[in-house]
């Protein structure tokens, strides 16, 4: 197998695995935040801000995989 077919197989899988991981992480984070808001609706603003920061940090990991995809995409040819 030449490196081009390997890349074209590996790159989508890389993004997919990263998306699975951060999807699981985001689900847990947002789920817990929703529970916390349900328990304490008056703290909704603060919880939301912290949740968005956490979500951004989790989701950045998928974005790194996507950036690698964009960088290596030109090599597939």
């Amino acid at each position: 197998m030449d490196y081009q077919s390997m890349l074209s197989l590996a790159l989508p899988f890389g993004v997919a695995f990263a998306a699975i991981g951060s999807g699981y992480g985001l689900g847990r984070a947002v789920g817990s935040a929703m529970e916390a808001i349900g328990r304490q609706p008056e703290a909704a603003g603060k919880i939301q801000t912290a949740m968005i920061i956490g979500a951004a940090l989790i989701e950045a990991l998928t974005i790194y995989a996507l950036v690698v995809f964009f960088i290596l995409q030109g090599k597939i040819g």
Partner: protein
Amino acid sequence: MLLCYAHIMATAAAKIAPSLLMLAAGGGGHEAEVAEHGGGHEGPPHLPNLVGLITGGHGWAYEWVNIIFAFAIALFFIIIATRVCAKRQMIPGPFQNAIEMLVEGMYNFLYSILGKEAKRYTPYLGTLFFYILLMNFMGIIPFGHSPSTSINITASLAICTFLYAQYTGVRRLGIVGYFDHLAGQPRSAVMWVLVPIMLPMHIIGELAKPLSLALRLFGNITGEDVLVAAFVGLGVAALAFTGSPVGLPFNVPFILLGLLLSTIQALVFTLLSTIYILMMLPHAEEHH
């Protein structure tokens, strides 16, 4: 006053961008800039933009398309800010009222995080938010192009935030306090032993912040624009057998998703910049 300062920051951000264009390796190079009508083999699909149509996809103006759009947005902010500042009134007109509403909303949001320090940092962070928001929206406007799909632009913004956070640290903590902060504030013998580990860790952490800021914004907005362009291509391909010049509007739901993503990413960039500045302020625990 606030807005006058704000537009200076906007131009500063846009002015740093061109010099970084030369420094960046890979990413927003020439191979990704080929004008494709939603398909092709060279790089991800792109929608045509105004500068590309005028120049025909060649020449220096097309190579600098990101800078041109970034400057256009900065110019837009400068015009608005100077017009508001020139005709300031105690009883605001509708135009001034709208701008004040935006600035005040930003201030109240930052006040909930920074507390009393918010007034000092609202000009920079507020400008950052609206500048990035408009840059992200440019990709959704027909014949527009998001400057934030170029890693050079996002990197320049992230470096601005990095330098501003370090400057804040040195200014507010003092040189000694700044290195004390980087060394993990050693107060006991155990902490002093750990300094050779903590210092490199904190320095790497500080350097990783602008990197993650830049890559997050770049990846999200590029992904969103490529998604919209790919579905435009799909819509055109679906009607290709009829020879129709327009395609099915498959991209409309993704434009709505793009509106949401653009706002969230602008907010996240601003929020994380706020947190990085907050971490450099003295006695962050006194607000709690």
